[in-house]
């Protein structure tokens, strides 16, 4: 594991840029633990101050320091993305591995449901959830809802690997040595799909953070928990762009874009590492 990361750092530009971006964002998130202001308090600093030595990224019209507000917001947003990714990984691993290994009618039923979740437009459904839950919609609840909707694409990917693993010799050996299905799936097959799970985790985080930002910007979630989307929401509520308070909206947007690009680049370079064909073409081999 250590060697893989070291190799990627040494040879892969995309991985290097991605790691740099994510490190910056994470540092920002960690700094939130040292924030001098409580995150939900307003009018703790003079409002509408442009970026200066005192207030690095300026202050908002609600009298909050943009820098410290941003650090707690990115922390919450990242935590949200991670939670959704972890929960939905559980579903997609269970569905993908069992569907690929068991085959037959189990596979057909699971994949029919799976394809349904791939096709259905999720955003209107999420809006419907907000519509009926209103103020009882919390960040945790949203994470649970989104993870139960966003597992399908990755479980198809895991299934395709599991199907090929099933025909490998070691699977037969473990069946004959009396391992239960559960043991085969967790001990024999799971290690093979772990790299894919890791890269899909990053992509899933991107997906869920993107939706969270969008929902929060429209005011369709708990806007009192500071998140990146929530910050943009409040900036829009105070018409920050028209009022010329550009720093209130620019810095959250830049931070979240850095997060997206960083996560994406890391996922892409890991995918490249998994797929040996593209590694070959990177080195200039296999090319005519």
């Amino acid at each position: 594991m250590k060697r893989i990361i070291f190799d990627l750092l040494k040879y892969n530009n995309e991985f290097r840029i991605g790691v740099c971006l994510i490190l910056i964002v994470m540092t920002m998130a960690v700094l939130s633990f040292f924030s001098p202001y409580p995150p939900n308090d307003v009018f703790v600093v003079p409002p509408d101050a442009p970026p200066s030595a005192d207030y690095w990224l300026g202050t908002t019209s609600r009298g909050q320091d943009v820098f410290w507000q941003l650090s707690i917001a990115i922390r919450n947003t990242l935590a949200f993305g991670l939670l959704v990714a972890l929960l939905s990984r559980v579903i997609s691993i269970v569905v993908g591995l069992s569907s690929g290994y068991l085959g037959g009618w189990v596979d057909r039923v699971l994949m029919a449901i799976n394809d349904t979740f791939i096709v259905i437009p999720l955003f209107p459904i999420l809006i419907l959830f907000y519509f009926v839950l209103r103020d009882s919609m919390s960040t945790i609840l949203l994470a649970v809802i989104m993870s139960s909707l966003g597992w399908a694409y990755d479980s198809r990917l895991i299934r395709s690997v599991a199907m090929s693993l099933k025909t490998r010799e070691f699977t037969g050996t473990s069946v004959f040595s009396g391992m239960t299905i559960f043991e085969i799936l967790t001990r024999e097959h799971l290690p093979y799909v772990l790299p894919i799970i890791f890269s899909t985790t990053l992509n899933n985080m991107n997906w869920s953070i993107g939706l969270e930002v969008t929902l929060a910007v429209l005011g369709f979630m708990d806007i009192n928990t500071p998140t990146i989307g929530g910050m943009i929401y409040w900036a829009n509520q105070h018409t920050a762009i028209v009022a010329g308070i550009w720093w209130w909206i620019t810095f959250p947007v830049l931070t979240v874009v850095a997060t997206f690009v960083g996560l994406y680049l890391i996922a892409v370079s890991i995918n490249e590492y998994i797929d040996p064909r593209s590694r070959l073409s990177r080195m200039g081999g296999g090319q005519t």
């Binding site: 259905i120 437009p121 419907l128 009882s136 874009v257």
Partner: protein, 335 residues
């Protein structure tokens, strides 16, 4: 033809399943929540001024009838389906007494036009440039495009739309940032109206295309760069097949099949993006209708748009799936 028939039936069955599960999710969400839409609507209406208790009781009765909340849950479930099948979602609460169906019918052409146009444009541009980039992998400008695509592709629609709006609405105001057409132009099939519609659709379309092109480009590039190492391509190259023919019938034709499947799979996501984009640019389509419906607490409208979205997206997926054998003849044999 029986192979194609089998294939088509399978797809049709999947379509029915998608619609069935989707509508059921919508039903469960709206009926298993602790919050009563009837009470919510009543409190929304009665929060302005005084209403007599009798009027409220009247309203409650008619709203329950309207929302199909009368009787036990089996009755409710069937009346819910009956209303979906008849495409009757009752009157809209926020635009009373216009029926939800007519509001949706008015918004649908806008969304449909915007989506079909942007999807086709981004899909073709992305695939064409991706194929070129996979084939001519040392071209400087195509490499630069790859870097741009990589940076833009993971950014969500909202951020791109907002950035475009800031650039072209505030910093360099040359394009209209809201509405579907100019207010002072009457709607009709005349040149002036069409030009205005086009002018207003530039920004929403651009934001959808900017995001869309990237993923098709990256997908196609990696597909093509794998295909050109295949033996038959090498053989054709040695055999002196013309480069344009190589590109068209040997490479793109083969790489296109997974991209068509990808298109079918990503339609839901594209629709999600359109909802946001429409809301940001005040485009008079389904997305704006949906978001405004939520703000106004309009239960029938939100449910109606959600159902139409589920049916519409899965119907388009069905159409793409049914056309798939035209691109990949292998499915006829496979089934």
């Amino acid at each position: 033809m029986p192979a194609y028939f089998n294939f088509a039936m399978k797809r049709l069955w999947q379509f029915v399943l998608v619609v069935f599960i989707g509508i059921n999710i919508a039903y469960v969400i709206t009926h298993v929540t602790p919050i009563d839409p009837v009470e919510q609507s009543i409190s929304a209406v009665t929060s302005f001024g005084n209403t007599s208790p009798e009027a409220i009781a009247d309203m409650r009765r008619s709203l329950q009838e309207l929302y199909g909340l009368k009787g036990d849950w089996i009755e409710q479930y069937f009346s819910f389906w009956r209303r979906i099948l008849k495409a009757d979602f009752g009157p809209s609460l926020s635009a009373f007494p216009a029926p939800v169906t007519s509001l949706i019918a008015r918004a649908l052409p806008w969304t449909f036009g915007l989506l079909v146009f942007t999807t086709l444009v981004s899909w073709s541009i992305g695939n064409l440039l991706g194929a070129l980039a996979g084939y001519y992998r040392h071209s400087r400008s195509l490499k630069l495009f790859g870097v741009l695509a990589m940076a833009l592709h993971p950014v969500p629609y909202y951020i791109v739309a907002l950035s475009l709006m800031i650039v072209f609405g505030f910093i360099w105001p040359i394009l209209p940032i809201t509405g579907g057409s100019a207010m002072d132009v009457a709607q009709g099939w005349n040149w002036q109206f069409m030009a205005s519609v086009f002018h207003h659709s530039v920004l929403p379309a651009l934001s959808l295309i900017l995001i869309g092109v990237g993923s098709w480009f990256l997908g196609m590039r990696s597909l093509v760069s794998n295909i050109i190492t295949e033996d038959y391509v090498v053989y054709a190259e040695i055999g002196g097949v013309a480069q344009s023919r190589m590109m068209g019938s040997y490479i793109i034709r083969n790489a296109l099949a997974p991209q068509v499947t990808g298109l079918a799979m990503s339609l839901g996501g594209i629709f999600n993006g359109a909802v946001i984009t429409e809301k940001i640019f005040g485009y008079p389509g389904l997305g704006t209708l949906l978001v405004d419906g939520v703000y106004a607490g309009d239960y029938g409208l939100v449910l109606g748009v959600t159902s139409i979205a589920i049916i519409g997206v899965s119907l388009s997926v069905l159409i793409i799936d049914l056309l798939y054998p035209l691109i990949d003849p292998r499915v006829q044999v496979a089934s």
